[in-house]
Amino acid sequence: MSAERNDAILTVDGISKRFGGLQAVSRLSFELFAGQVLGLIGPNGAGKSTVINLITGYETPDTGEIRLDGKRINGKASHALSQLGLRRTFQTPRVFKRLSVRDNITLAEIGTGRGTEYNAPVLAALGGDAVIDLPASSLPMAGRRLVELARACTGTVKAVLLDEPSTGLVDDEKSVMKSVIRAIAAKNVAVLVVAHDIQFVLDICERIVVLALGTKLAEGEPAEITRNPQVVEAYLGVGWDRHAQA
């Protein structure tokens, strides 16, 4: 699948964040393009979730700039960013437990507009009408992740940041999640996937950023990353290059 190289939808430019004594993120830069799936991997504590929090307004970067469609978005509130099309999911899926699946989507429609173009594949994967009226809390983990993703793809969607979308899923469910993510990217949405699951990332990401101790260790295509000696030493270990799509 060839990605259309436009200007970057999302630009992260030299951001840093310190929490008390801990420098969580340090001068990080990368770009996210429409239609491309970018992976963000790294050992525990590398700062991956912090990066998503910084981009989506839950934290404010100490230095650097974050730009959406070229416009600076540092410090904007998370709900405002959602309205601008910068969406995210959470490490532990945050569905509205009291509401049905349909109402979860409705809420997203209220906030970011009606728009089923992007969430259609997600809803299809969920099971469509069979589950649409069930309470969200009654679904298993895979279902809840899909509901959250469907919500994030409702209305205005320019970029979606997924925080550990495969955690808690079994193999079949992971396959479904992979095809859903590919389908979303195919609609020219920029997708960022943060994950611990290396195989998952290697399977769907065209480009990978490796984060360690808050700094970028490497960036490149999966094949390059799995052969990068620093990455191998710091995180991956040997043998992953077999699993990377060349």
């Binding site: 979730s49 929090n53 839950y58 959470f90």
Partner: protein, 296 residues
């Protein structure tokens, strides 16, 4: 005119230090338990009332009455902490439950005082006698000479306690990270008890020393709690220096209003000032010890 202002400032400083001490007490409990004790002001009332009872009903000398008052504050704190707060912990209720509980305690205590002692203010004689003393060219009630050093002493003692004494350091650790504190073996339940008892005893002590100046009666608790709380927030919840600073600001505003504008509007203006501050600077002027972020 200048002497009047000077007098008002000194009075404001005096009451402000008291607010500061009580604000620290509120902060101590908050740091140890994340609970905001709406009943903190009642301990001041209890201290004054207990001392009054000791002096007027049991004919005790003032130093003994003071000890009784402090004991009363401590005992009451234990009863409330074990009987109410700890009981609520079983359910792991949301935070606002504790807010309501301490508010309920405050209502119960003040109305019990009303029922037992009536509406009339209860007075104590100034400890050093009725002669005013001269300070910096101003003539002030002798009790100031006790209250101000007492507050300074208490604040210093508290600062030292939290810096050097083991339990104090444990409480600071628990304030910053409760789970972490538990992991290294700190007994957070015991900390809660210590925090309440300390705050109760200290507030009662302050109440005894304050009574000769302002008298005590059933209704003073809530107003004191609010002002002390405002001082605590102004200085950053859990920050001791800030609390004292905040207390002095509020005390001075109150005193100047009472003296220069009108004593009727004293409370209105003071609370308006507090409200405006809360609305404009909800996070206070200085840094809070406890980070209040919700982890995403």
């Amino acid at each position: 005119m200048l002497t009047t202002i000077g007098q008002l400032l000194l009075a404001g400083l005096m009451i402000g230090l008291i607010y500061g001490v009580v604000a620290i007490c509120i902060g101590v409990i908050y740091n140890a338990t994340q609970i905001v004790n709406f009943a903190q002001g009642e301990y001041i009332m209890i201290g004054g009332v207990a001392a009054w009872v000791a002096v007027n009903w049991w004919k005790m000398p003032i130093w003994a009455a003071t000890l009784i008052a402090v004991a009363a504050g401590a005992v009451l704190a234990i009863i409330i902490e074990r009987g109410v707060i700890n009981l609520a912990r079983r359910f792991r209720p949301p935070m606002f439950t504790y807010v309501f509980l301490t508010f309920g305690v405050s209502i119960v205590l003040s109305n019990l005082a009303l029922l037992l002692f009536g509406k009339n203010p209860m007075a104590l004689d100034p400890f050093l006698g009725w002669e005013p003393i001269r300070f910096a060219g101003l003539s002030v009630p002798s009790q100031y000479a006790l209250v101000i050093p007492l507050c300074i002493l208490l604040v210093s003692a508290l600062v030292l306690f939290f810096a050097r004494v083991r339990i104090g350091k444990a409480m600071r650790a628990a304030a910053v990270n409760e789970r972490g504190a538990m992991i290294v073996g700190i007994d957070t339940a015991k900390l809660s008890m210590v925090a309440f008892v300390m705050s109760g005893a200290i507030s009662a002590l302050v109440g005894v020393f304050l009574t000769p100046i302002t008298t005590t009666h059933y209704a003073i608790g809530l107003s004191l709690t609010l002002k002390a709380f405002a001082a605590a927030i102004l200085g950053g919840l859990g920050n001791f220096r800030g609390a004292v600073l905040g207390g002095c600001v509020i005390g001075v505003v109150e005193s100047l209003t009472a003296g220069l504008i009108s004593s009727h509007f004293k409370d209105v203006v003071t609370f308006l000032f507090i409200l405006v501050l809360l609305v404009a600077l909800p996070r206070g002027l200085l840094h809070s010890l406890v980070e209040e972020r919700e982890r995403v």
